[in-house]
């Protein structure tokens, strides 16, 4: 007889479940409706059934406009269908195109260059926005801090500790950018006055 004080992990059998089938069925809507693993929608993982997909082609007709579109070098060609939103442009586009052309998805450089392209893209857009009627701001939606109980919502939450970093992470680059622009501007004015 096993000492009941010895936990399940150290003996042959798991202790009796807390609730019986009948108790679970009474308490939980639908308990056991998918009990048979072989009758679950994702079983088996690979289920060959070409008639079930809705496709009526062996290989899809090719979408026009694929010439020159960036692609992973792990693909044999630009896939027959692709997104056409936000095509590559400018310096960020050149960086991204290089990442796609030079490095496979298995190389960290591929992804880090794409992230670098993202930051260049964003900063280019911010600079352009300053010359528009709708300049970018460091973060959007912040008025909900007042209208949706910002401080109250965070009270007692452990994640409030690192949320304190958000203003630094978000606004820090803007402050640094402004400082660089100010310093550079002053130097330029001084140089022009000489």
């Amino acid at each position: 007889m096993t000492d009941p004080d010895v936990p399940s992990a150290y003996v042959r059998d798991k202790r009796t479940p807390r609730e019986t089938r009948e108790q679970l069925r009474a308490r939980i809507p639908g308990w056991g409706a998918d009990l048979d693993p072989a009758d679950r929608p994702s079983y088996p993982r690979l289920r060959y059934d070409p008639g079930a997909t809705g496709a009526h082609w062996d290989f899809p007709e090719r979408q026009p406009g694929h010439e020159g579109r960036e692609r992973s070098v792990e693909h044999a060609f630009v896939t027959p269908v692709f997104g056409t939103a936000q095509p590559l442009h400018g310096v960020s586009g050149a960086v991204r195109r290089y990442a796609y052309r030079r490095f496979s998805e298995g190389r960290l450089a591929h992804w880090l260059l794409l992230v670098a392209g993202d930051r260049l893209d964003a900063w280019g857009a911010h600079l352009r926005s300053f010359a528009s009627a709708r300049p970018d701001v460091p973060a959007t939606g912040l008025r909900t801090e007042a209208t949706r109980s910002g401080p109250h919502s965070r009270r007692g939450r452990s994640d409030a500790r690192h949320q304190l970093l958000d203003p630094v992470v978000v606004a820090g680059p803007w402050v640094a950018g402004a400082a660089v622009a100010w310093t550079g501007g002053r130097r330029l004015v001084r140089a022009l006055r000489r």
Binding site: Y43, G54, G117, A122, D136
Partner: protein
């Protein structure tokens, strides 16, 4: 048309954009009637997903009305009310014909390691998403399904990703009758994963989070035991104590790349971006499951590496199962479960924002203000 637009990390707004057009004979254009913000959209919003371009419209959870169809579309007609899986799938590649709709090889030229997803950066194909008044839907004969008359719109929109992913996560766990199932994360995916674990015969379901409104929802909506990790110095030890020192038979990781619970990992992964997000939930899953158990991962991660405790997974003899959800494959059975009241996706909707207030919606959801669990976006609301 009006559309949500990404302007850089932590910055989104609504702009005028061109209405999408038919670009392939099997395309449809759908007028969006209801959309949602997914927890994984926050990874884009926080600048964590490579090749997220300024001007991109997010949104992979949406329903709507067919406005236009391409010349080869057979299954849909203009005016049909449709729900659209978040996966874009050709239906004819090696992967699609085997049911792996989320791993389609014919729709994403930018990467082979992930299929096509609406509004989820160019790493998933460069398709604008559904947080807009209109959206282009490729392979209209493969993905979209007419919304049954009896189905509530809010259930329909949640079935396009969050609810389907929760249900799929429970299946990945290979749950056997009487199993103890731990769900990490009481967000929309975790809540449905917990409900689904019962359908598959779980004997106990324990949901781990630290936000009280979400833990309360796990109790009421998913009938689960809850564990607030803020109340324990070491959540893994607590899980061991609660499972008679075995560990859970199955852990479903439904938190993803911004999982909280470890200050250092959170700051390094999500603030300083020194790795591909925070691996806290993955490591809790590996440490909290019993030896020989199964970890099912449906939380979203990007392509940049994470510091995952792979050695523990090896030494414990774990089965690790994961994928993006092949949504359409889940639907026939899920429709039954929703109709019978076994799954109740819309019970987790807490907020509804007009599209014009999308910037506020993102901040509220991101900072988890006002008890927000699941925000919906109404494209035509004033």
């Amino acid at each position: 048309m009006r559309a949500m637009v990404y302007r850089g990390p932590y910055k989104v707004r609504v702009e005028d954009k061109d209405v999408p057009r038919i670009e392939h004979p099997n395309d449809a254009v759908v007028r969006v009637t209801l959309a949602a913000i997914c927890g994984s959209d926050l990874h884009l919003y926080h600048g964590m997903m490579p090749d997220t371009r300024v001007g991109h419209t997010f949104g992979h959870e949406f329903i709507g009305v067919v406005e236009q169809v391409g010349s080869s579309v057979r299954s849909l007609q203009v005016g049909d009310r449709v729900m659209v899986p978040f996966n874009i799938s050709c239906g004819s590649c090696w992967f699609c014909v085997r049911g792996l709709y989320s791993n389609c090889h014919n729709v994403n030229p930018n990467a082979t390691a992930v299929g096509g997803i609406y509004g989820y950066s160019h790493t998933t194909g460069g398709y604008d998403g559904g947080q807009a008044q209109y959206v282009r839907v490729p392979f209209a004969d493969v993905g979209p399904v007419r919304i049954p008359d009896w189905m509530h719109d809010e259930d329909a929109v949640l079935l396009t990703d969050a609810a389907a992913t929760g249900y799929f996560g429970a299946q990945l766990g290979d749950i056997a009758e009487g199993d103890t199932v731990v769900v990490l994360g009481a967000g929309p995916v975790g809540l449905v994963a917990a409900q689904s674990a019962w359908l598959m015969g779980a004997g106990r379901v324990i949901v781990v989070d630290h936000l009280q409104e979400r833990l309360d929802k796990a109790r009421t909506m998913a009938h689960a035991e809850v564990l607030d990790y803020d109340e324990h110095a070491d959540v893994v030890v607590e899980l061991k104590k609660q499972t008679d020192f075995l560990g859970a038979d199955v852990v479903i990781e439904a938190a993803g790349a911004e999982a909280d619970g470890n200050l250092l990992q959170q700051v390094a992964g999500t603030k300083l971006k020194l790795q591909g997000g925070s691996p806290v939930a993955l490591n809790w899953a590996i440490d909290g499951v019993r030896k020989g158990g199964t970890v099912a991962v449906v939380g979203a991660y990007g392509p940049i590496p994470n510091a995952v405790k792979f050695g523990d997974a090896l030494n414990k003899g774990l089965t690790l199962r994961m994928n993006q959800t092949p949504v359409k494959r889940q639907w026939p059975r899920m429709f039954e479960h929703v109709r019978n009241g076994h799954l109740t996706p819309r019970a987790m909707v807490t907020h509804r924002f007009p599209l014009e207030h999308v910037a506020e919606a993102y901040h509220v959801f991101s900072a988890k203000l006002d008890g927000c669990i699941k925000p919906l976006i109404l494209p035509d609301a004033a």
